[in-house]
Amino acid sequence: MILDTIIKKTLDRPKTTLLIYAIISILFLTQFVKIKVDTDPENMLSKEDPARVAHREFKGEFALHDAIVVGVVDDANELGVFTPKTLHNISNISEEILKIEGIIAKDLVSPITTDDIRGGGGSLIIEPLLKKGAVSSEEALKMRDSALANPILKDMLISADGKAIAIAVPIKEKDQSYRISREIQAITDKYKGSEEYHITGLPVAEDTFGVEMFKQMAISAPLAGLIIFLLMYYFFRSFTLIIAPMIVAMVSIVWTMGLLIGSGYTLHIMSSMIPIFLMPIAVVDSIHILSEFYDEYQKTGDRRITFAKVMHNLMTPMFYTSVTSAVGFASLALTPIPPVKVFGLHVAFGIMSAWFLTITLIPAFVMLVPERLMKNFGSSGDGSTSNMIKIQEMVGHFATKRSKWVISLTLLVVAISSYGISLTIVNDNPVYWFEKQHRIRIADKVLNSHFGGTYMSYLVLDGDEKDAMKSPAMMHYIEDLQSHIDSIKMVGKTTSLVDVIKKVGFELRDRAEGSDKIPDSSDAIAQYLFLYEMSGDPDDLYHLVDPEYKKANIWVHLKKGDNMYMKEVINSVASYIKTNPLPEGINTKWAGLTYINVVWQEKMVAGMLKALIGSFVMVLFIMTFLFRSLLFGLISMVPLTVTIAFIYGVVGFSGKFYDMPVAVLSSLTLGLSVDFAIHLVQRARQILAEEKDWGRTIDKLFDEPVRAIVRNAVVIAVGFTPLFVAPLMPYKTVGLFMALIMAVSGAITLIVIPSIMTLLKGVMKT
């Protein structure tokens, strides 16, 4: 076999082997300079996805931009922000912001740029709400009253309680947002009085996200390396030898990240987790090799002979465990979420690289270790052995003596878990990715408690015919639809062209009673709009309607960005439209990031199921092939099935949302936890073939083979724990669940498989 030849070669020429790997690694390392970070949540959908195409199209049509939001809040002052001092600050800040390079000045939303519509004294004034420069206390209050009487500005620019004002700074390029937000910060610091300034918004969140992503890679991944290193030292007591698996891990990470970056993929929340995933997985095969080597070396005292034997024993299980893990990750390619696909395929590549490196580099390395350093290796057992043996024996006896009990309990757990799964709430909210105390979470809370809602989605009514939106029937439809949307949970505000029309009419008639309504003729509507175009800033209007009046855009503000609330809005609007048909020739489409999030979440849920089923079938096939037995194939699938049911049952019961990180875990669990079963079943059959007695088989099985499995489980479980200290919630979730999954699936494997085998020992053929 070609692999044997390669392994022989590496044993013959260890230095050359290491040199070749060093060169390859350097080549991959050179790719690192091309690194590009991507924190754009839109990229959860592919660029060509219809929802994203429509979203992009509408963003262009209605000049909707990503904006940095500056929330000015003064809760302590009775007059809120409507004091001459604070308004003057806001005016100065706005003027300075207008001068920042890279912002879209014409679409700045601020009291000094956004038009208010005012009547009185026979005239109509459409001009910015706040005049530049200083204002008197009287003017400040007048301005507040005027803003609060304007349904377009209220809850958007000005909070209903008068305690807060928002400034939205649209930016041209998202990659400039860090610099721009720093400049804004410097400006607000300069003018700050008793009022508070919260700088937030999607671009800021994305930037912060990028920074925290690097923090995770710079802290958690190396920490995982350190912890694994220490664990291995605890297992093997030789720094020299455990350097080899660490090199395997580092090299496979370098190759994988080099491949990722070199192929032009971006560093994303998903791909940033590649190193921390590969770190423990990459050393697992080495642990098995070293475990065996550790036991065998003292008997022979010859490295070459020992390796020949160890490799002979482990070649098959190592290959299969690596392939199944890789399949589990690669199955993520079946999801329609590009970053998840990229993550899955690259980790799969990394796992196979680690496997190949393990079988070639570890022997080469061990051959190069000076003889004197080999002397102590394997001579003293690890400290925990005696305790561990006792526990292992207990587990083994429990599993066999109480097998019916174990199986019943397992079935019960599965049944209860299934109920738990039925309680699952599918939901995600990118703001929850930040920790609760994070300034972005705080700003989110403060702003959403004052304003109509910072989570935007847009319901576009598309008439495809010029002036379609000017008809009174259309206007009335929008008005009714809007009041329906306003009644949906979490919707804090809606804004449409109808609000402008009604406001213009109301002010034109000097706020006469009953004049706050849609005019009866389309000419009147057209003339109101023309008046607005003539008198105000038409760009303000074109966020709500296109200049040809073919399409209208209803702004829907949500107070919370949870997908479940957005989904409720979408469903509610759909059923409303069903019972209240749209005017002839009009259709609706959603846009906005809050909507996009729902789209990719739905794709993800469906995609994950596909990935899970796909990898289940693949792994079952591989297991059946490995054991040449469908029965053993099925048995080895039991622990992971129970684990997945249990974990998702826990998720369901706990009320934790089924979000992106939780979803991704299912396929990974499958690929990783089947490894334990492979080792266990393989060894059980081997021993049973030798011993011909189930009781003795269990005793032998629960000695060294189980110890290797426990070490394997511990390394992976503990290897993920440094994600707890990562600053972003998805990392913490993954860390917690991976540790939990490894522990649970390790335990289930060790208890349930022997129980099943005990029950089935009559029908089992070895």
Partner: protein, 263 residues
Amino acid sequence: MRKPILLLLLILATPSLSLALTADEIIDKSNLAYYYAANDGKARAKMYIKDSRGRERYREMTILRKDIKDGGKQNFYIYFHEPADVSKMVFMVWKQAEGDDDRWLYLPAIDLVKRIATSDKRSSFAGGVFTYEDVSGRRTGDDTHTLLRDEKFAGKDAYVIKNVPKDAALVEFDHYISWIDKETFLPIKGEYYNDKGKLYRTIEVEKTAVIDGYPTSIKGVGKNLDTGLTTTIEFVDVKYNVGLKEKIFQERYLRKAPREVEK
């Protein structure tokens, strides 16, 4: 009197005496030639507005103008024909020599005349690139003018003048450069720069004609380089000294348009 002395020095120092106009004089002459030709005027304007996404709007209107004082007070009566749903809408401006202009708008659909109070003359006229000031003229005293150079532009000898606003807070530009035809004193081109020195808006006169003896710009194009908005305005049926009466620039004539607005 320092100014005449300076002027004298300037004249003495300039080889070609006949061309020795100051920047202020050039701008004054240009203002009169472009905005105050004859005592009154009438034209049908066709305005094509196109944004960066290719979305088009069309407006057609009749503009009546009567000068009360050359270089000073002036009345405009703008009667819309197109789009059809705003037909008969009238926009009237009394341009004042000082202070805010007076503006009225008539909405025929609800038969309502409203004064439109706005102090911002830099806002868009009818949704296009042109501002109110572009349409009715910017007061020459609002800027400080400097003659930069003489230059041949679009086949014409032109003065190139830099205009810096005296009150920067009132305008969106930092300065603008005008090219003024030496022969007709009609502006040929304007370039508007922001405070970072970046050109963001241009206005160009593409066609001129002599009508009733008055050099007249009959086609102009405005471009906003930031937003990609372009606006083309064409003047047809231009007539001067049509004998417009001052009384038609009164509120009651908004409801009942004078016959001059029809073709």
